[in-house]
Amino acid sequence: MNQKYPLFFLLPTIIVLLLVGIIPLFPVLWNSFHFYIVAARPSPIFKGLDNYRNIVSNPEIGYYFGVTLLLTAVCLLIQIPLGLAIALMLVRRFKGRDFFQVLFALPLGVAPIAVGTIWTLILRPEIGPIPKILSLFGINFNYMSSFWSAFTAIVLMNTWRWTPFIALALLPALVSIPPDILDACKVDGATYRQVFRHVVLPLIKTPLLTVIFIRFMDTFSIFDEIWILTGGGPGWSTRTVSIDIVRRVIFETDYGMGSALSLIMLYITITICWLMIAILKRGNLVGEL
């Protein structure tokens, strides 16, 4: 086969990916070694590794990473079991199963920015049904009154948006488990929990790990919904790393720190992807990569 063709076919994609994904990282790398706040001083001053040192030692930035990781952990701990439970409920064939699948797919289509506005409409004390219902029981719920209430609101919103994805992503793997295996387990007298733990779970390991990685990265980079719902508040208590980057870049025009933070986020991304491939490969779970 002529070897020129594959290159010729791949070239446009590689050029565009280089243009938008790699080339602009070089000026950003250069920026990250400079004090560069456009609003304060239009020309950058070389500061070496100062920005990186600042990121490591600044407790505020440490807090943003901490909140982001806490949010990611809580969301995964709630959503993965719940999504798996929904998937298990949808495995059984019955009339109307398709209908339920359509209903569960609906939240997936909502733009993250609209997720934020929708949950604002639900949670704002003066207009939202949830605070109104809670007030019937004498509970005064304002999600912006403290960190934990804002955090709970964010987790609730994120769970609404993403649990269906987990359920629908795990469903094909669950459906493809041959019923004979499960029947054989029942004949052998295994309990439901034993079957799940020793038969079902190993069989869906690859999709489950993939979904966990995807959800980890997406929650780690969360921005739009929180930006609308809490704006990082009350105070700056729910400010995630992404919100911090956007705030620095757009509102403070701090390109030096913004660049350093962006590159650190990209570096974390590459490490996690590498880890994911390594884990999936060790279990002989992927052949492609």
């Binding site: 063709y5 994609t13 938008v20 949808l90 019955f94 409409l121 986020m265 992807c273």
Partner: protein, 272 residues
């Protein structure tokens, strides 16, 4: 008997969860059709008003349709560009065993996983350097960062499912690889290509963060307009927040029903 009882329990459980899934969208629609007094007052959970004027007010009088149009142009442009360059690329990745394809796929994976916020400044630097800041083209290029990986992922799966023998037979008949791509692969992979096109369109349409800085006054996107409005008019014009929200999600819900089967793969490898 036990089977029926467990089925009833199952359906009750699923119904409760489905109500949780659907209620927020339902609530946005209900609010978008209410007068303001009713939203702030003690309005019940069921629909009470049908004020279609809210939509007229936002879309026509406030010219929200201009932002919708901008989003449409950018999403469509991006989707077409991505398809044009990734169809041959996906074909090359599936049908020719390349030593470098492993690295390319890893690179594509990291692009998929990268936080959009981390690409904000790089893309701003790029578009200002190319003098594309505030233009449609700048935005169309920016969304390639996430939509190229998505499209390649979906198209590789679609092309892999075509039997190789068809292509080999037509190559023996004297078709060039380019001819095979256009005459054989393109028609056979059409459902997959349509899905990839619709999903890339959907992700560009839904995207917010790049528009905050890359869109100019004349190219302001619908998501950015919605975000600005929701953030600056807090506590005042809730019915219009709801109206804009519903306007944003309706086209997406329609696409969602068309590509439902491929949707999950799209969300696994597309960017929110």
């Amino acid at each position: 008997m036990r089977r029926i009882a467990s089925l009833v329990m199952l359906i009750i459980g699923l119904t409760i969860l489905a109500v949780f899934a659907v209620f927020p969208i339902y609530w946005a629609i209900v609010c978008s059709l209410r007068p303001r007094a009713e939203i702030v007052g003690e309005a019940p959970l069921y629909p009470t008003s049908f004020r279609i004027e809210n939509y007229y007010h936002v879309f026509v009088r406030w010219k929200y349709y201009e932002y919708v149009l901008n989003s449409f142009i950018v999403a469509t442009g991006n989707s077409l560009l991505v398809l044009a360059i990734t169809i041959p690329a996906a074909y090359a990745l599936t049908r020719f065993r390349l030593r470098s394809s492993r690295h390319l796929l890893f690179w594509i994976l990291t692009n998929r996983m990268a936080p959009p916020a981390a690409f904000l400044l790089p893309l701003y630097v790029l578009t200002s350097f190319l003098k594309l800041a505030g233009t449609y083209l700048g935005l169309i290029l920016a969304y390639c960062v996430f939509n190229i990986p998505l499209s390649i992922w979906l198209l590789v799966a679609a092309i892999e499912s075509i039997p190789k023998e068809v292509e080999e037979a037509s190559m023996l008949d004297g078709l060039s690889p380019l001819g095979v791509l256009f005459r054989i692969v393109l028609p056979l992979a059409r459902p997959g290509i349509v899905t990839a096109g619709l999903l890339t369109w959907l992700f560009a349409w839904n995207h917010y963060i790049f528009g905050m800085i890359l869109a100019g006054p004349g190219t302001k996107l619908m998501t950015v307009a919605l975000g600005d409005f929701a953030l600056t008019t807090v506590g005042i014009e809730w019915e219009y927040v709801a109206t804009m929200t519903v306007g944003t999600i309706i086209p997406v819900l329609i696409i969602l029903l068309i590509v439902r089967r491929a949707l999950v793969a799209g969300f696994a490898f597309g960017k929110i």
